[in-house]
């Protein structure tokens, strides 16, 4: 009985950890200066310098000062983060957002990395099972053995190994 109990304990522990992380990540910044800093790093400067609004500091930038003022005003007016991002996007175009939005086709940008990672993980696990059968698990009855290397090919490779010592040669 010890094994199922231990399994249940670890399952619960994993669930609790997951919940804790989810809660942590869902808690947003609250005070105005944190929000300004946070949103400033989610928006781009539109002058073409390819820098985040919160980091654009080049001399004589014609846009960042105005954008920062607009951001501060939007925060002061009580708009939510999403409303502010939407208003900037509507005014300056989608390129003002420093990351793709999570809707429509742009959602693919966020999903694809995790989908690829999951597929690669699955592929790796299958590969490991294929190569070793998890701790030397015997092959099931009726399953073909791995094809052995052709003796002629093996001999050819051995010959190449012998003949290509330090001297080389055709």
């Amino acid at each position: 009985m010890a094994t199922p109990l231990r399994f249940a304990f670890w399952t619960r522990a994993a669930q609790a950890l997951l919940l804790a992380v989810a809660i942590c990540l869902s808690v947003g910044a609250t005070d105005a200066s944190s929000r300004f800093n946070n949103l400033g790093h989610r928006l781009m400067c539109t002058c073409g310098c390819a820098q985040l609004l919160g980091e654009c500091n080049h001399v004589g930038c014609p846009e960042s000062g105005r954008e920062r003022s607009e951001l501060a005003a939007a925060i002061a007016s009580g708009l939510t983060d999403q409303q502010i991002l939407d208003s900037f996007s509507a005014k300056y175009g989608a390129t003002v957002l420093a990351a793709p939005p999570t809707k429509g086709f742009d959602l693919v940008a966020w999903i694809a990395p995790f989908a690829v990672f999951a597929a690669a993980l699955l592929g790796t696990i299958l590969l490991i099972r294929r190569w070793g059968g998890l701790g030397g698990k015997p092959l099931a009855a009726g399953i073909e053995e791995p094809a052995a290397m052709d003796p002629a090919e093996r001999e050819r490779m051995e010959r190449v190994r012998r003949e290509t010592g330090s001297e080389g040669g055709f």
Partner: protein, 750 residues
């Protein structure tokens, strides 16, 4: 000089073409291609006897059959051409032996290097002699440019960069061809493939982006502009003299293992042969690329004046992607060397790395995506796309024909083993590479699908790539703790005790000193990731140091040496392993430095004379603002006294320059670096109303650790490059009185 340079390029092009053609003919005569050499692969086994297994096996059969049919069709289409060519080959072989033909091809490659060197020399000479009749020199140099930056002009523009690429490729090829006796046939293949790559770059230089083109309407002896437009001010910084060449040495260097891998696959050579030969090339190339990337980061940090070093710019990403696949390759080749596994994987890793270097150059040069590296864009993208397609087609075709030769020789014995950790390491590195490639190219895809571009910037990469990086850091520590083949869970648990203690101790210490992600009621994901990074770094460092100490303890017992001597001997005995561990330590140190970015602080203020601003423990007081001028630029700077605890500790002079030739402004950041943090001060300009300087000061914790990590990585790689101490060489270093007991260990001893 322009005529001489152009002539050199033409000669080099002709020699590369001859090298490719004669090399291919010679190798074709030596190894005739017959369809019978490529029987179809046997049907794969059903792995588990399950429905998934059966269908997976069927799918593999189907894919194999399609691929094989395509390859056979290609060979059959090739055969009529080949039979016609065979008559030509016969005619040639009557007059010259294939071996001699191959040797003439090799000599043509060496002569090609001399010709490209001549072209590079001509361009540098033209810069130094201010030959403004050449458009490139006019656009990228001026008379007042300091001497080191005259060299930098070689790679500051499109044409010069391509010439640098061709010259470096020629240099690599030159070394390769001189060392051909190591394995004449494999080197002949590799040299011929390199000649194909060289032919491409020289063709661009001759037909699409000639570096010696003269001013429109210029005739010999005619009037030329009195001065040039000068070098881009962003590039007038010491790192720019060494960062691009190092990065290019890394980019170009991956051509060599690529050429060996493709050549070995064409020859159906045993994998361990080409891997052993290319190991040094790959490590040195990886080292150059690493140094190039880090120097680029330092340049961005010191020149761009935004307080950061990595902006996930497409061109930065382009240099990082081959680094990731190259790192994966360096790890997975160990599987092939030791176990004969992952042969196809390794071949494709190095193919991908080479293709990614081309993609990087395409992104840098063709302006496919928006980038701050906008100083070298042009329309040669089509050339690169076509060449990449050709390279990919050759790789696929060769792979399909020779894939049976890449059969795995051993099987994995346990999920909990070093082999598995390498697989997961590759999985994570390649996922990271995909994420970066995806993020870099997504704006193009989005524009194609939706008709409007989106920006994929730091928030995307921080959300997606940073967790992957932390997982990779975790594997960096886990890998060395797992033995080859298999181990028991009990042994694994025992190895994990100390790292786990280090991990949790670090978490507690971080919370104790105030690194709390939930500080002030708001959650900071940056601080959270930094906390995870610090904890993992401590665990990984403990794991690696434990490995060193464990091995040293054994040697201390066996030899009676002290701990330092034992550590030195341990490293000498297995330089690959312990050099690799040192590289891991360097990575850990750099990660600690990167984590410090979560705690950056900054303040901006307009400072009148004797007024002050504070950031962290420092108080900056403006004690003077002055101006200076020389032939190259005018500058204005502020003199700042820096106080800490009421004591004046040092002085800083942030500066702003305006270059005469281009009229462009440029900030010169003042940085005071300590292991704890960097005080980073930017002179942003003057307030037009008050005439007073505007100063921005950053306090960036732990930045110095990033560069220290690089030094450790370089040291570790250098150790890994040194051959391990063998019993034979060890015996030669034993004092005379002791040699009697070790003589039998000498090569050829009794």
């Amino acid at each position: 000089m322009a005529a001489f340079g152009s002539l050199c390029l033409l000669i080099a092009l002709a020699l590369a073409a001859y090298n490719l053609l004669a090399g291919a003919v010679a190798l074709r005569l030596l190894v005739p291609v017959r369809l019978a050499d490529f029987p179809p692969a046997p049907a794969p086994r059903n792995l588990y006897g399950s429905w998934i297994g059966r269908n997976f096996a069927r799918l593999r059969v189907l894919i194999d059959q399609i691929c094989f049919s395509l390859a056979v069709a290609a060979v059959r289409a090739y055969n009529p051409l080949a039979s016609a060519a065979a008559r030509v080959f016969d005619w040639i072989s009557v007059r010259i032996s294939p071996e001699r033909l191959a040797d003439t091809a090799r000599r043509a490659g060496i002569a090609g290097f001399v010709a490209v060197t001549g072209a590079a020399f001509a361009l540098v000479w033209s810069v130094f002699t201010n030959d403004f009749s050449i458009t490139y020199i006019l656009d990228h140099s001026n008379r007042a440019l300091p001497i080191p930056y005259k060299f930098a002009a070689l790679w500051s523009g499109q044409e010069g960069s391509l010439l640098l690429w061709a010259w470096l490729l020629g240099t690599y090829g030159f070394v390769l061809r001189l060392r051909h006796k190591t394995d004449v046939k494999l080197y002949a293949y590799a040299g011929t493939i390199l000649a194909g790559v060289q032919l491409f770059f020289l063709s661009i230089l001759v037909f699409a982006a000639p570096p010696f083109s003269l001013l429109p309407g210029y005739v010999a002896g005619g009037a030329v502009p009195a001065d040039g437009n000068g070098l881009n001010p962003l590039l007038q910084y010491p790192e720019m003299v060494i960062h691009p060449p190092l990065l290019y040495l890394g980019y170009v260097g991956f051509s060599v293992p690529f050429a060996f891998a493709l050549g070995a696959l064409m020859m159906r050579y045993p994998g361990e042969k080409w891997i052993r030969i290319t190991r040094t090339w790959t490590l040195v190339t990886w080292l150059f690329l690493t140094c190039g990337i880090f120097l680029g980061m330092h340049w961005a940090y010191a020149v761009l004046g935004w307080g950061g070093y990595w902006g996930w710019d497409p061109v930065e990403n382009a240099s990082f992607m081959p680094w990731l696949t190259g790192t994966a390759f360096l790890h997975s080749v160990m599987m092939q060397e030791r176990k004969g596994m992952m042969k196809s994987w390794n071949v494709w890793l190095i193919f991908s790395t080479f293709l990614l270097t081309l993609l990087g150059t395409l992104l840098t040069r063709a302006g496919l995506v928006s980038s701050v590296h906008a100083f070298a864009q042009s329309s040669i993208g089509t050339w690169f796309i076509v060449f990449m397609c050709i390279v990919l087609a050759v790789c696929i075709f060769t792979y399909i024909l020779q894939r049976r030769h890449l059969k795995t020789e051993h099987e994995l014995e346990s999920l909990v083993s070093r082999e598995s950790s390498f697989l997961f390491n590759n999985l994570v590195l390649l996922t990271a590479c995909f994420v970066i490639l995806w993020g870099t190219l997504f704006p193009i895809l989005s524009e194609f699908v939706e008709g409007s571009k989106v920006t994929v910037g730091a928030p995307f990469y921080n959300a997606v790539a940073v967790p992957i990086g932390l997982f990779l850091l975790f594997l960096t520590g886990v890998g060395p703790l797992l033995p080859w083949r298999s181990t028991s869970l009990k042994a694994v648990r025992r190895n994990f005790v100390l790292p786990s203690i280090a991990l949790w101790a670090t978490v507690i210490v971080c919370f104790a000193v105030g690194a709390n992600p939930w500080k002030g009621g708001a959650f900071s994901s940056g601080v959270f990731y930094a906390l995870v990074g610090f904890a993992l770094a401590a665990a990984v460092l403990t794991a690696i140091v434990s490995e060193f100490l464990r091995g040293a303890a054994v040697l201390m017992r066996q030899t009676g040496r002290n701990i330092f001597a034992a550590l030195w001997l341990l490293t000498r005995r297995n330089t690959r392993r312990y050099g690799g561990y040192l590289v891991h330590i360097g990575v850990v140190i750099s990660v600690v430095g990167l984590c410090g970015a979560a705690f950056n602080r900054n303040i901006e203020s307009e400072l009148g004379l004797h007024s002050s601003m504070s950031v962290g423990p420092y108080t900056l007081t403006q004690v003077g603002a002055t101006q200076d001028s020389n032939d190259n630029f005018d500058s204005e700077y502020a003199v700042m006294d820096v106080y800490k605890g009421g004591q004046k500790v040092f002085q800083m002079t942030p500066e702003k320059r305006v270059y005469h030739s281009s009229g462009q402004p440029q900030t010169m950041v003042a940085i005071h670096s300590t292991p704890e943090w960097d005080l980073y001060v930017v002179y942003e300009g003057t307030n037009p109303d008050t005439g007073q300087p505007i100063i921005k000061a950053f306090l960036n914790p732990l930045v110095g650790w990033i560069w220290i990590g690089l030094v450790v990585m370089v040291f570790g790689t250098a150790i890994a490059l040194v051959p391990s101490l063998t019993p034979a060489t060890a015996a030669l270093r034993v004092p005379a009185a002791q040699t009697a007991s070790v003589t039998p260990a000498l090569k050829g001893g009794a």
